[in-house]
């Protein structure tokens, strides 16, 4: 690695609200945000539950995804002290605003309340268009690229930014991810019987029954450490390792031994100069709360650092936020960053009883103080894609 990568700003929004303090009150307190959602008729589905924020003036029926990205982007750039006109890459993880697809077909069927509006924002369904809108709205010049690889999309955007910065190609990257709960995706997960049956997400618990979706939007400002030093910006955390690997196993299920996840984690740790994970004090797991994922992930973590796995606290914050899909990588990056900055581990909420197949220290239900030097955040996705990022206290 030729150049160090540091984080100088962020903006975040979840069902708990906007900003880091909302995460501290919700995620770090172990409070699940699941309620019956009123954004659409949940009658046809097996559960009405999701971690969706109460709808405000920029609710899903409007331009919500675009607005939320702009809001988090402005917050992130303000914190970083970077002005409009900055040359920065904009790297976004999203599959587009799928509400515009739903509205199109509602309009075509004559069942849409705002058919005209739906037709005016057809392009918001295009992932790359949202990156253009974000870059344009923030006044950033530089390359734009959108990652669409499902639940690792925004983690992939961060990894790409790290590569661009560490290789000296760019100085600043604004990385983002966005998902807001909507019916099309909700229906698909329901049809795949992936949603929790008891209205809670219970990662790593023996009685876990599935995931629930949640709102998540976040922007992080990554910068070369030298660039940040030159302009006197305060580094919040450094990113010292990253990795990505594939399971080569199944189109939708994880490898039962967590092979790709272990490979991604090992790659990230090697880059961080800590092949056996001896400097790690915390792992923010993908932990979806599904039978398949959590057991496989546990085995993958054991394979990644066999000597250390039992002594490193691991938690999944999806028990509070729900699964944020394309935004999971960047929101959980922010949560991991706060853990390092605050010295507090967020708990695995909703945990009831241990599963013999999930036998690590999952920080059940209550936050835990910890003097962290480094932490690892992991994500996985359909197609067997896995990502890992190592964060370090400056």
């Amino acid at each position: 690695m030729s150049g160090e990568v540091t984080v100088t700003g962020f903006g975040v929004r979840t069902a708990f609200g906007t900003g880091a303090d909302a995460l501290r009150r919700g995620v770090f307190a172990g409070v699940p945000a699941f309620t019956p959602t009123t954004r659409f008729d949940t009658g046809p589905y097996r559960t009405p539950m999701a971690a969706a924020a109460p709808d405000g003036p920029d609710a899903v029926e409007g331009w919500a995804l675009r607005h939320a990205l702009a809001e988090c982007g402005t917050e992130g750039l303000d914190m970083a002290g970077l002005p409009s006109g900055t040359e920065a890459a904009v790297l976004l993880g999203t599959v587009g605003d799928t509400t515009s697809i739903t509205h199109h077909w509602q309009a075509a069927a004559g069942s849409a309340p705002g058919a005209g509006e739906a037709m005016e924002r057809a392009a918001d369904a295009v992932p790359a268009h949202l990156a253009e809108q974000l870059a344009g709205g923030l006044g950033l010049t530089g390359p734009r690229l959108t990652f669409t690889n499902a639940c690792v999309a925004s983690a992939a955007a961060i990894i790409h930014a790290c590569r661009l910065i560490s290789s000296g190609r760019i100085d600043v990257a604004v990385c983002a991810g966005a998902y807001l709960v909507e019916e099309a995706t909700f229906g698909k997960f329901d049809s795949g019987r992936a949603l929790s049956r008891d209205g809670m997400v219970r990662p790593f618990s023996v009685d876990r029954s599935g995931l629930l979706l949640g709102d998540g939007v976040a922007v992080v400002v990554l910068e070369s450490a030298e660039h940040a030093r030159r302009r006197g910006a305060r580094p919040l955390v450094n990113v010292v390792g990253w990795g990505a690997a594939t399971d080569a196993h199944h189109i939708a299920q994880p490898h039962p031994e967590g092979a790709g996840l272990a490979a991604a984690a090992r790659q990230a740790l090697r880059l961080a100069g800590d092949a056996d994970g001896s400097t790690l004090g915390y792992v923010n797991a993908h932990g979806t709360g599904t039978k398949y994922n959590d057991a496989a992930e546990t085995r993958g973590l054991r394979a990644a650092f066999p000597e250390r796995a039992e002594s490193i606290p691991v938690s999944s914050t999806k028990g509070t936020t729900g699964h944020l899909l394309q935004a999971a990588g960047v929101v959980e990056f922010v949560i991991t960053m706060l853990a390092v900055m605050d010295g507090v581990l967020p708990p695995t909420a909703g945990f009831t009883r241990p599963d013999p197949e999930c036998d690590l220290d999952y920080v059940p239900n209550s936050p835990r103080p910890a003097d962290l030097r480094r932490a690892l955040t992991i994500n996985a996705a359909f197609g067997g894609a896995n990502t890992a990022l190592v964060l370090e206290r400056p």
Binding site: P44, A125, V126, A128, G187, F382
Partner: protein
């Protein structure tokens, strides 16, 4: 003496200016090298293209993939990838894959959306195949690819983005090859509305691909060398300047036509040798990028200039 001194001073001054100019030139070159789309040449190991439902010569029967229904997106992606990976087998643990598609699998998305609006039960198979990750997962299993796989959406020319991505990934000593591919579906009225909105005020055309048609192209890239008889590198500035005087028409947003042009040039260079200038559509944040493809095997000294449209 004085004259000599003056001369010396002047010469020293001239030499200093020359050094300054040289240093400035070096700095500019270094800066340009850092900003160039490609830092190093890439070797082209294999290319493949396939179309479905266009009525053109490239139309091909597509494989049936277990678990994938209704849409040609995944079969097209798989078919062009399969051809490249079969033609040039390699170590899957050192092979990365990057798929670019402006809108992804619009057939699946629209089908799922229409069913939902009509109050029909969601089809779990549409859930499974909704993301491009799914076909990448299928591909990874078939070819034992365990390195990283990404999927992208870009409004710019995917050729530029994919070559840049391969260039960056091949700096990783754990990788030897990057398979890049693009997939584009015709789409129906919603996709047409999207393109109308994207094209408004840009001067870009809207695509004329038939609604039920699909296109895909793949390029297997590695580091240049004996295994890659054709290499691709950034074009020299004078080539680009020559081309800029007569630029080709810009394609529609995210068009993968450039990948087809790259594949056609690769095939031609393998047969006849020579070199080929491939210019890409200008991006919002930079001008047009241009690449030179060069055959290293003996052949004729053909030089072509071609802008894809």
């Amino acid at each position: 003496m004085t004259t000599g001194n003056v001369d010396s001073v002047e010469k020293a001054g001239e030499a200093g200016k020359a050094r300054e100019a040289e240093n400035a030139e070096k700095a500019e070159k270094a800066e340009n090298a850092e900003k160039a789309v490609l830092r190093s040449p890439l070797g082209i190991l294999a290319t493949a293209t396939a179309t479905h439902g266009t009525g053109g010569d490239d139309d091909t029967p597509l494989p049936r993939l277990s678990g994938f229904v209704e849409s040609v997106f995944s079969p097209l992606a798989y078919e062009v990838s399969r051809r490249c990976l079969t033609e040039r087998p390699g170590d899957g643990s050192r092979t990365a894959v990057v798929l670019a598609s402006l809108q992804g699998d619009t057939t699946t998305e629209d089908l799922a959306g229409q069913r939902m609006v009509a109050g029909r039960v969601h089809n779990p198979l549409l859930f499974m195949q909704a993301t491009a990750n799914s076909v990448l997962g299928y591909l990874s299993r078939e070819f034992r690819i365990t390195a990283q796989m990404f999927s992208l959406s870009t409004l710019d020319d995917p050729v530029t983005e994919l070559l840049a991505m391969a260039d960056l990934l091949l700096e990783d000593p754990e990788l030897d090859r990057v398979l890049v591919l693009g997939v584009e579906l015709g789409g129906g009225e919603r996709v047409a509305a999207v393109h109308r909105e994207l094209a408004a005020g840009t001067g870009r055309p809207e695509p004329d691909t038939p609604a039920s048609a699909g296109l895909a192209a793949a390029v297997l890239l590695g580091r240049p060398g004996a295994e890659a008889p054709v290499s691709v590198r950034p074009a020299e500035p004078y080539d680009v300047a020559d081309h800029a005087e007569n630029p080709g028409a810009a394609g529609h947003s995210g068009s993968i036509q450039g990948l087809f042009d790259l594949a056609a040039a690769h095939r031609r260079l393998l047969r006849h040798g020579g070199s080929h200038l491939l210019a890409t559509d200008p991006a919002e944040w930079h001008g047009p990028a241009a690449f030179t493809l060069t055959a290293h095997a003996p052949g004729t000294n053909e030089t072509e200039s071609h802008a894809h449209q």
